[in-house]
């Protein structure tokens, strides 16, 4: 997902002014992507949400010193969103892999059954096949359950209150008028 261009950003303006524009744009992106990603829990939409949270986190970590402690809280929030979405992505990867493995196994099992029909499958091999079927099924169910739990946690973090808190926190941060700040000085 390509990042949205930051409207009005000018090379000659101050870091603080420019950072305000960038943060506002990235916040808008994040808030627009969230409803679809959280409602459906679809992998692609969650991926986009994770990238948007990452962009938000990076700019806040870089320029947060211009805006005070609120920006730090918002960066932590963006990080939590990114990490939860990342953990869901990891389960998506594993589920995809289990699916591919199950497809291969089903084909092999079909061949074994064809041989079995001729009375040539030893009982031990039959038991091993059935154990593998059960174990793959159990693992897939466990992964789906873990994924659902993570998605529920992500929704909770991002529900209406949290979302407005993130927005309020950031707007408060952007309005904070501090004396000229220096980082790492």
């Amino acid at each position: 997902m390509r990042a949205r261009a930051v409207a009005g950003l000018a090379a000659r303006e101050s870091l603080r002014k420019g950072a305000e524009r960038i943060i506002s744009t990235r916040l808008q992106e994040l808030l627009e992507l969230a409803p679809l990603a959280l409602a459906g829990g679809e992998a692609r939409a969650l991926h986009d949400l994770r990238i948007a949270a990452k962009r938000m986190r990076y700019i806040l970590e870089l320029t947060g010193f211009c805006f005070g402690e609120h920006a730090e809280a918002a960066a932590a929030s963006a990080r939590a969103i990114q990490e939860l979405a990342g953990a869901i992505h990891d389960y998506d990867l594993l589920l995809e892999r289990i699916g591919a493995h199950a497809t291969d196994f089903t084909r092999e099992r079909g061949q074994a059954l064809a041989v079995q029909a001729q009375g040539e499958v030893p009982p031990a091999a039959e038991r091993a096949d059935l154990a593998t079927c059960a174990a793959l099924g159990s693992l897939a169910i466990e992964c789906q359950a873990q994924r659902a739990l993570l998605l529920a946690q992500l929704r909770t973090r991002f529900d209406e209150d949290q979302r407005s808190a993130l927005r309020r926190t950031l707007l408060a941060a952007l309005r904070t008028r501090q004396r000229p700040a220096r980082q790492g000085a």
Binding site: A11, R12, S14, L15, R16, E61, D90, L94, A135, Q183
Partner: protein, 160 residues
């Protein structure tokens, strides 16, 4: 995930492009250091660090776009994206292996035995991705993306 090192000397009133140049130079140094660690370690945390560096650099080029010449910026961003994708596949297979191992550790011995073929195939995939990673690392060294990025930083510093 590691937090990027703070960039010394940044100030809120500083000119945007001057700040962008300082950050770009600092992030290049981090990328170079992490790339050296990755060449030494071959994966794990070093691989993760390099991927994060590439992601942070891309974000920087996107966020501070007006500070850089557009064509050169786009080319650099594309190069970073290609490198990140190559490293990402290797990282995914590491994550997959670790996640499965975590589940297997909680399974009964019979379940572990039954899933041995899945575990084996993931290990084989990881070994294959490790070989491909070497190709991506060679690319990272030969293309010298940081030299291109340093030129962009110089341009940003001189931008009026």
């Amino acid at each position: 995930m590691a937090r990027a090192a703070q960039v010394a000397g940044l100030s809120a009133q500083q000119r945007l492009c001057e700040a962008a140049a300082s950050v770009l130079e600092a992030r290049c140094k981090e990328l170079e250091a992490h790339t050296r660690a990755l060449l030494h370690e071959g994966g794990g945390e070093a691989l993760h660090d390099v991927r994060v560096d590439l992601r942070r650099l891309r974000s920087l080029l996107e966020d501070f776009a007006p500070c850089f010449p557009e064509r050169a910026r786009r080319r650099a961003a594309k190069e970073l994206k290609t490198l990140a994708a190559a490293l990402g596949v290797a990282r995914d297979s590491e994550v997959l292996e670790a996640l499965l191992a975590r589940h297997l550790a909680l399974s009964a011995p019979a379940g572990r035995r039954a899933l041995a073929s899945l575990q084996r195939s993931i290990k084989e995939q990881r070994a294959l991705e490790q070989q491909r990673l070497q190709g991506a690392l060679a690319q990272l060294q030969s293309k010298q993306p940081t030299a291109r990025l340093q030129r962009l930083a110089k341009h940003a510093r001189e931008a009026r």
